[in-house]
């Protein structure tokens, strides 16, 4: 080995480092296996609600200013959604829009003003084919088995690709630390940090504890929800006996939020 030159030494060093790193990652994978075995210790709560695909039907005829206010207030309060007045930095999970804005492709110049300006509650559509999930580079937004389009705020890198992808404007970005804009915080739910995207999560934290989404609960029957894959569910019954529309259905995103007009 006395005639080993610098070049060869470096080569050997490089190969050694490569094998070392490989071994390390193998160790990591095996180590992970151990943790996987652990996973069985995690269980769904027995009271959790189950569905193949959650859906919501909003009856616009039943909406009134009080219900709209109750829904948005309830949602934003329990989820610590900051109240930012600057429209550029606004954060909203569920909010009021006029019919002509929520359904721009349906507006018509001869449409009755009361329909054109009718109040509509809009929120994340929890699409069956969600573009936001498709474009997210880290799986920070993903579709749960029950159809809820979830947001993992721990993983979001804040690239805002999902905001460009969402054709419904359902996503908000934390342009600065939201904490100072939350009054009367709900101590049972976290805030978000600056630099992440957030949106309605179909109240996953309530569904997993056996409770209906907050907006449904306070809507006085204007919003119903259920498993759209189940022919006997209330949403299916309502949809089979009423004319319902979805926002921008032609885009193929298959929204799970229906509107009765």
């Amino acid at each position: 080995m006395s005639n080993i030159n610098r070049r060869e030494f470096l080569k050997i060093l490089g190969i050694g480092a490569f094998i070392g790193l490989g071994g390390w990652s193998l160790f990591e994978v095996v180590g992970r296996g151990e943790i996987e075995a652990f996973v069985e210790r995690y269980r769904k709560a027995p009271e959790a609600l189950h569905a193949k695909r959650w859906a919501m039907v909003i009856d616009l005829k039943k909406l009134n200013p009080k219900i709209i206010n109750d829904c948005t207030e309830a949602c934003h309060r329990i989820h610590n959604v900051p109240k930012i007045l600057n429209p550029k930095e606004e954060i909203k999970w569920i909010w009021e829009e006029k019919f002509k804005n929520a359904f721009p492709e349906l507006k018509d110049e001869y449409m009755a003003p009361e329909i054109k300006n009718m109040s509509v509650l809009v929120l994340c559509n929890h699409c069956e084919n969600p573009p936001c999930v498709r474009v997210c580079p880290t799986k920070a937004t993903f579709k749960r088995k029950d159809g809820i389009v979830m947001m993992d705020m721990h993983r979001c890198i804040g690239c805002r690709f999902c905001m460009a992808g969402c054709p419904y404007g359902a996503r908000s970005f934390n342009w600065r630390d939201p904490r100072q804009y939350v009054k009367n915080e709900n101590p049972e739910f976290p805030f978000r940090m600056k630099g992440v995207v957030e949106k309605c999560t179909f109240c996953y934290e309530r569904i997993d504890r056996g409770l209906p989404p907050a907006c449904v609960e306070v809507s006085n029957g204007a919003i119903i929800y259920g498993d759209i894959a189940d022919p006997n569910s209330e949403v299916r019954k309502v949809l089979s006996s009423n004319f319902a529309i979805r926002r921008k259905a032609k885009l193929g995103t298959k929204p799970s939020v229906y509107y009765l007009i």
Binding site: P87, K88, E89, N101, E105, G158, C159, R160, D177, G195
Partner: protein, 397 residues
């Protein structure tokens, strides 16, 4: 070879120092952005991408345009490009670097950027963008460096570099196609959702890249003894001319489709950019300048006498480059977000901190570019003759 970048005239050091000041200012501003959040920019809930992502998009094109030199040279043995192939490759390197930096400064949670690797997501175009960009960076650095090294030693380039050269040629369009796919695959953004986006990206890249190279070649010739060659510059100008023409045509195709079909949602962004929508018209001046520059660039580049006279050529190349920069670097991204999904108009204009950070990232690019071009030109000056036995230094010296 790196040591070649360490010897230079006071003017060279002055230029680097100037860039360093810009970088420093941008760095401090970035710390401020890091502290407060992206709220210090002009971006909003409705226009959620702005100057940063625009610059990224534009610079991917500049990087890809290296292929306009490398391909004629290595595939068609176009000898005039022998001298400047390395200039193309060394332009791609800082361009990609700037692309990466622009993505980084645009992130809301930059500390988590490695999540892209930790949780690789093949259904996201961003994943492929990351792969092609890093690959392209390595390929260009490798090819440029190895070939320049060979020239320095006065030896032919090693054989093993050949496959890498060919891979780099195929790789170049991919980076810009993937970048276009970031946009054109999004439902509900009608300005972007068009199949011609990728083609237009490539054509505008191959107009802006060669235009920049024309200017860079002139600068190199002025400040060093290395002469990239009059004919090489002329061919670059011709390349830029054809692709500028193609780009304008592609844009007009888009306008035709939107307006002849009469589909209003396809028209909104175009109307906003050229005329203003619902009384909002912040980008109309930008778009007007863009049209004016395109006209100047086109007239100069397609008129042989104007193209041949280097004074007008410089103006034409600069116009083309700036036109493409305004189109892709600002209006394309912002225009796509207007109107918003509720058909309301929320406008965007960059803020001062955002502009400082943007300038700083460009300064990083020019810093690296200066170092690489300094190395390349010094090697060329010392070699005196190019591969084909022609003098590649200025005759007057």
């Amino acid at each position: 070879m790196l040591e070649l970048a360490l010897k230079g005239s006071p003017r060279y050091w002055g230029w680097l120092f100037f860039l360093a000041i810009l970088i420093g200012a941008a760095f401090i501003t970035y710390l401020y952005q890091f502290q407060i959040g992206l709220g210090i920019t002009g971006m909003s809930r409705d226009v959620s991408w702005g100057l940063y992502i625009g610059q990224f998009t534009f610079l991917v094109g500049v990087a890809a345009s290296a292929v306009t030199i490398v391909l004629p040279y290595y595939l068609h043995n176009y000898k005039k490009y022998g001298r400047i192939a390395v200039l193309g490759e060394f332009l791609a390197v800082p361009s990609i670097l700037m692309c990466m930096l622009f993505i980084f400064v645009d992130l809301g949670q930059p500390m988590r950027v490695l999540n892209v690797l930790l949780h690789p997501t093949p259904n996201s175009i961003m994943f492929y963008d990351m792969i092609v960009l890093s690959g392209y960076l390595i390929l260009n650095l490798l090819c440029g460096w190895v070939i320049l090294m060979a020239e320095k030693k006065g030896a032919p380039p090693p054989k093993w570099i050949k496959p890498f050269l060919y891979i780099a040629i195929c790789w170049a369009p991919s980076i810009h196609i993937v970048t276009a796919f970031l946009y054109q695959g999004l439902p509900g953004r009608d300005y972007w959702m068009t199949a011609i986006m990728a083609a237009k990206f490539l054509s505008s890249a191959f107009a802006s890249g060669p235009s920049l190279l024309v200017i860079l070649c002139m600068i190199v010739r002025k400040f060093t003894n290395f002469d990239p060659g009059k004919e090489a510059i002329q061919t670059l100008a011709k390349t830029a001319a054809y692709f500028l023409l193609v780009t304008i045509a592609f844009y007009l195709f888009e306008v035709f489709t939107a307006f002849y079909s009469g589909i209003t949602s396809h028209q909104y962004s175009i109307i906003y950019l050229f005329k203003g929508l619902e009384g909002y018209s912040k980008l109309v001046p930008v778009m007007s300048i863009c049209v004016l520059l395109a006209a100047i660039g086109l007239i100069i580049l397609i008129t042989p006498p104007l193209r041949k006279w280097e004074v007008t050529l410089a103006i034409g190349a600069a116009s083309t480059f700036l036109c493409m920069w305004l189109e892709k670097g600002i209006t394309l991204v912002v225009g796509g977000f207007i109107p918003n999904p509720f058909e309301r108009v929320f406008e965007y204009w960059p803020t001062l901190p955002e502009a400082i950070i943007t300038i700083g990232v460009w300064a990083v690019g020019f810093f690296v570019l200066t170092l690489l071009y300094k190395i390349a030109s010094t090697v060329k000056e010392k070699a005196v003759f190019d591969k084909y036995g022609e003098k590649q230094i200025k005759v007057s010296v």
